[in-house]
């Protein structure tokens, strides 16, 4: 930061202190102008402390976009969870097929977009649903449409990036994939393992235990342990939260470690509003004859933590990892494949041409020498 300052080097220390004091004031909007020359020793601001502020305003004006993919078999509450997370009912008009229709169903890709606005910050959210996954009797290759979709989005972005007009690139890349694990089970099933193995190098996978109101506390702990052990055993790399910086305060660090300990998140979703038992407030929940489950109560499930994780703290990190790691991996692989293919074609071409030339040249050479010899002989004779 100091390297950008010119002149008045002698008074650098006072300037520094001046600048830091100012930065506290200027956060929260309203630029306080470029730092002019104030009096000697007083708070002379250069003003670059407003950089974050400028970035903030620009980002708010531009708006954010986020693509979320949800994968899991039918009936695990994916749509309900999305509705609960974003407080919108995205799937009101959805029709569910009967069992006969599902016998031979293939996985489909269903994209829905909404625009959300909170305190002036606009979010363009795309939710990619995968109805039909694991519905058919024979689910061989039912993950292929999902894999192909992610590859296509990467390819599209790559082509756009290489294009001439790069002003209006729309980023369709999938930033996060929520994988729903069934709570009725002793861990991951073979099809869960297969899908995650194919996707973990292309997208950030966040495993989620669906319909967690099926499990008691002890059962939930057991299942989480088993899911983590299964993920380890099959060497599946789910999204790992970045380590906290040492200068973050206690609160954030505690929150982070809380969230990290919770993965996989055990969630409950609901489209209905119920009255809470202890506070009497009306929140989203499920009403049973034996009690009321509150979706946002951290003692009942990890929904609140998931929301903080996804929307509050790690959305940008998810996007960054997608951009820097998954996309770059794809790009490198894509380019080397294309290069090797082209190289192979070119090399073959070159080889064939070269070989033809040499034989012809040789032949001609031979013919020439023979001709020469004949001439010589004639001369002699």
């Amino acid at each position: 930061m100091m390297s950008g300052i010119r002149g008045n080097v002698g008074r650098s220390e006072s300037m520094r202190t001046g600048a830091s004091v100012d930065s506290h004031d200027s956060v929260g909007g309203g630029s306080t102008g470029n730092g002019g020359s104030g009096g000697p020793g007083s708070n002379v601001r250069l003003g670059f402390a407003n950089l974050p502020d400028q970035m903030h305003r620009k980002a708010v004006k531009k708006g954010f976009n986020f693509t979320l993919m949800v994968v899991g078999e039918s009936g695990l509450g994916k749509s309900t969870l999305i509705s609960s997370l974003f407080q919108q009912d995205l799937y009101k008009d959805r029709e569910l097929g009967s069992a006969t229709e599902r016998v031979n169903k293939t996985t489909e890709i269903d994209k829905r977009q909404i625009e959300l606005d909170e305190k002036g910050v606009k979010l363009r959210l795309t939710v990619v649903d995968t109805p039909g996954f694991n519905d058919a009797i024979n689910c061989q290759d039912c993950w292929r449409p999902i894999e192909d979709y992610i590859d296509n989005t990467f390819e599209q972005y790559f082509k756009d990036e290489c294009g001439l007009n790069r002003k209006n690139i729309v980023d369709h890349r999938v930033h996060c994939c929520l994988y729903f694990v069934s709570p009725c089970g002793h861990g991951l099933r073979p099809i869960d393992v297969e899908l995650m193995r194919r996707l973990h190098s292309k997208v950030n996978i966040v495993p989620i235990i669906a319909k967690a109101d099926t499990l008691t506390q002890a059962e939930l702990r057991d299942l989480k342990e088993r899911v983590l052990a299964d993920l380890d055993r099959h060497k599946i790399q789910t999204y790992r939260m970045p380590d906290t910086d040492s200068d973050d305060d206690e609160e954030t660090r505690r929150q982070e470690s809380d969230i990290r300990a919770c993965i996989p998140f055990a969630v409950i979703g609901s489209n209905c509003v119920v009255e809470s038992a202890d506070t009497g407030r009306r929140t989203r929940g499920r009403q049973y004859p034996w009690g009321v489950v509150e979706v946002e109560n951290p003692k009942h499930c990890d929904f609140a933590k998931l929301r903080i994780f996804l929307l509050g703290t790690h959305m940008q990190d998810l996007k960054d990892i997608t951009k820097e790691v998954h996309y770059e991996n794809y790009r490198a692989k894509y380019i080397t494949e294309r290069m090797s293919k082209r190289k192979g074609a070119v090399r073959d071409d070159f080889e064939t041409r070269k070989s033809k030339n040499t034989t012809e040249a040789n032949f001609e050479a031979i013919v020439d020498t023979e001709g020469l010899l004949k001439e010589k002989e004639d001369e002699v004779c």
């Binding site: 709570p183 002793h186 099933r189 009942h300």
Partner: protein, 419 residues
């Protein structure tokens, strides 16, 4: 003095008579029951459902016993069936209970062959019973009946509808066993959702012509209960073997942070009604149906395969005997054939051997003749030689004599005298 009237008419030549006193044959049902109770009953339950749906827990809850089932993993490559047999006693009634559980159902990526092991098992039990029935010396009353009496099909609580594998499997099994579908882990579904789910499943079952077990409504004593049960199918159950204390009483329940689900409460789940329907009210009907409907169906198919038919107007036993006789005759004929072949072969071999013997004989004769020839030749030679020796001796003596005459005095025969 009791008057008993026989109500049902039996036929034109059967008269119904009013009894004027107590005869005593009203104790017949009691006699029947006593006999059966002394023998003991057997009941076989099959539980089909995905891994982790709580099948073992529900059985333990139903019979209020810990059965030591081991939970299976998800990586079983093929569906397997595990039967376990237990002896239970309630009051003075003995029950031989067999629980057959599927492991690995619904776990594979390709679930097309999931129902085959199940169908094979059911057919095997029917086959065993059929074999026992067809034996000449049979002991049906001490036979341990292993035919599956009821199949509890566990449906996952998705809240939407049946899964494709549920429909396909139930369709394949509905003609072989009594199916009672249950919704497992139903404490994850709220009451309104449950009603919608049940209606949806009932519609799907009806639309696809799946014949699940219908509780009998022809007997007045149970028809009312059974018609209520019919509307409750599929039963939404919750299983638990853990007990917690609620209101001072210990009861089986599942404890959540938001409340406790009491297994024995009718307001929380249909467990009590399932137990009543299956064990208290209709257990004998289930056994009856398995024998009268499903077993007969299997038997008919099987015997048709074997070649029997009803049109020959012969009883099964006679047909069987006839079959057996033809089979025996067949066997005998084959034996004869084999014997003939054996004899022919033996003859051939004998001839061969004889020829060989003859050959040997001729060879021997030839050799002997040769031998005799040689001997004769040798004899002749010897004779010739003997004659020569004799000649030589004569000549020698003649020469000697001449010498003796010539010299007169010397009797020395000089050897050096050469001839």
């Amino acid at each position: 003095m009791t008057t008993v009237e026989v109500m049902k008419g039996l036929g034109p030549d059967v008269r119904t008579i009013k009894l004027n006193g107590h005869v005593g044959f009203d104790s017949l049902p009691d006699q029947l029951v006593n006999k059966h109770v002394a023998q003991g009953f057997s009941f076989n339950i099959m539980c089909i459902g995905e891994t982790g749906l709580g099948k073992s827990t529900l059985i333990e809850t139903l019979f209020n016993q810990r059965f030591e089932f081991t939970p299976s993993s998800h990586e079983v490559p093929q569906v397997k069936l595990k039967p376990h047999t237990y002896d239970l006693k309630e009051g003075s009634v003995k029950l031989k209970l067999t629980i057959i559980e599927t492991s690995g159902f619904g776990d594979q990526v390709n679930k097309e062959d999931s129902s085959k092991p199940i169908i094979d098992y059911i057919n095997q039990q029917f086959e065993n019973f059929l074999q026992e029935e067809l034996k000449i010396k049979r002991s049906l009353h001490t036979y341990h009946d292993t035919r599956v009496h009821v199949c509890l099909y566990f449906i996952a609580p998705t809240g939407h509808s049946l899964k494709s594998i549920d429909m396909v499997t139930m369709k394949k099994l509905d003609s072989r066993v009594n199916i009672i579908p249950v919704i497992a882990k139903s404490d994850t579904i709220t009451k309104p959702e449950l009603q919608r789910f049940k209606t949806r499943i009932q519609n799907e079952i009806a639309n696809n012509d799946i014949h699940i077990y219908q509780f009998p409504t022809d007997d007045e004593t149970v028809s009312e209960q059974n018609s209520i049960m019919k509307n409750l199918v599929p039963f939404a159950v919750v299983g638990s073997s853990d007990e917690i204390t609620v209101n001072g009483r210990k009861s089986r329940a599942r404890q959540y942070p938001w409340g406790a689900v009491l297994v024995d409460s009718e307001a929380h789940c249909d467990f009590v009604r399932l137990r009543e329907a299956m064990l208290r009210v209709n257990m004998d009907d289930l056994r009856e149906r398995t024998h009268a409907m499903h077993y007969e169906h299997y038997r008919r198919q099987r015997l048709a395969e074997m070649g029997f038919s009803d049109e020959d107007k012969l009883s099964l036993q006679e047909m069987y005997e006839k079959r057996r006789e033809t089979h025996q005759a067949e066997l005998q004929r084959k034996e004869e054939e084999m014997r003939q072949m054996f004899v022919v072969r033996v003859k051939e071999k004998e001839q061969e051997l004889k020829k060989a013997e003859g050959d040997l004989q001729t060879k021997f004769e030839a050799v002997k003749k040769q031998h005799a020839d040689e001997k004769r030749k040798l004899e002749e030679k010897r004779q010739g030689l003997d004659e020569e020796i004799a000649e030589f001796q004569r000549r020698k003596t003649a020469a000697d004599n001449r010498n003796n005459l010539a010299s007169g005095t010397s009797f020395t025969l000089s050897k050096s005298k050469k001839k």
